[in-house]
């Protein structure tokens, strides 16, 4: 009896549907990855709040502020916003596909998400090139300083998100995700939705207000 207790390893001997429970496990009763990504997203919320808060101070304190419509291609960016929101929807569809065990559909939706994000970033790069060609540099005035700061940092986040999704796609091609194991795909999706959420706010504040 004693030997049997000592030989028992919960990581090996516990029933497959049981998560092994150790007596020294004092972590929160939630997936570690999910805990970490939400902690990270909390810091990201504060990061973008800092940027937007600075924008509010500078804008409301300025004697005048140009009409964004006169300076920016609002129609093009509105379309780009559609694309990013659509890619976020693709991501949800990819996750639902793997929850149903449909590997092929999951890969297709995931690839569509990556393409949508890449298109968004490509349009943003095109917008930057056009603006710089017309002399709209960050040091021209406070409008352009805040514009490049906010959209630039967001663009960097989109880039990171695309790299993350590509890594997830490579994992999907290797069969890393199953109906029972798709947490890493869910975490990538959470980050991607956050990037989408931030853009919804930035588009409103920078391009429409």
């Amino acid at each position: 009896m004693n030997d049997a207790i000592q030989a028992y390893d919960p990581a090996v001997d516990a029933p497959a549907h049981h998560h092994p429970i150790y007596d020294y496990d004092s972590g929160p009763p939630v997936d570690r990855g999910k805990f970490a990504i939400w902690l990270f997203l909390g810091t990201e919320i504060m990061f973008f709040t800092g940027l937007i808060g600075t924008y509010i101070v500078l804008r409301m304190g300025s004697a005048s502020w140009p009409n964004p419509e006169d300076r920016l291609a609002v129609n093009l960016t509105a379309f780009n916003t559609f694309v990013l929101i659509t890619s976020s929807w693709f991501m949800v569809m990819a996750l639902q596909a793997i929850q149903q065990g449909d590997q092929a559909r999951m890969k297709s939706w995931l690839l569509a998400t990556i393409l949508g994000g890449s298109f968004f970033l490509g349009v943003q790069v095109y917008e930057y090139i056009e603006l710089v060609d017309h002399g709209a540099l960050p040091n021209v005035d406070i409008f352009w300083s805040t514009f490049y700061a906010m959209t630039g940092f967001h663009g960097f986040h989109v880039f990171v998100g695309i790299v993350w999704l590509i890594c997830a796609y490579v994992g999907a091609l290797r069969g890393s995700f199953t109906k029972e194991n798709y947490l890493r795909l869910e975490l990538a999706g959470l980050y991607w939705h956050f990037v989408d959420l931030v853009w919804v706010l930035l588009f409103t504040i920078v391009y429409l207000m």
Partner: protein, 168 residues
């Protein structure tokens, strides 16, 4: 995300598209005052953010730990924004608007409404006066900070009153 947390993402997506169309149309074509323009835009942005956060990011189905991780950001965001309010000025109420500098000789802010070459007063797209703050840099002379004229429309005071009403 477990299987009992299924929802219809396409429906949420269509709502997001609808709110985006409404928002863009409101932002580009709404003719009313700025507070109504901005209010409508912020409501649309809130609705879209709420849908993404609640459904796409699955917060609706998360437990108290995950919600507790995000909850502190709400008061922190409020503190950051409202603590900066004194600096945001809302120029009409501020003694020293950002961009202005106290004239140490006259002991007053050098501020005047911008005019075009023909002497017409300038107003921005929302009917707000465009102000110029003259800066006196010690004894080296006055430096005027000129507003960006690409967004300005030169109209007379009479035209302004006809569009925006007297005393706006």
């Amino acid at each position: 995300m477990s299987d009992d947390h299924q929802f219809n993402p396409t429906r949420i997506f269509l709502y997001l598209l609808l709110y985006t169309v409404l928002e863009v149309a409101w932002g580009m074509f709404f003719p009313g005052p700025r507070w109504a323009l901005w209010g409508g835009l912020l409501i649309c942005a809130y609705l879209k953010g709420y849908l993404i956060f609640t459904w796409f990011m699955h917060m609706k189905f998360e437990g108290w730990i995950v919600k507790g991780l995000v909850a502190p950001t709400i008061p922190l965001v409020a503190i950051l924004v409202f603590a900066n309010m004194p600096d945001t000025s809302f120029n009409d109420d501020m003694l020293y608007p950002i961009g202005s500098q106290l004239d140490v000789e006259l002991m007053q802010i050098n501020e005047r409404q911008a005019k075009d070459e023909e002497g017409n007063l300038l107003f921005d797209a929302h009917g707000e006066k465009v102000m110029i703050h003259d800066k006196r840099i010690m004894s080296k002379g006055a430096v005027a900070t000129m507003p960006d004229k690409t967004s300005l429309k030169a109209i007379t005071q009479e035209e302004h009153d006809a569009i925006f009403g007297e005393g706006h």
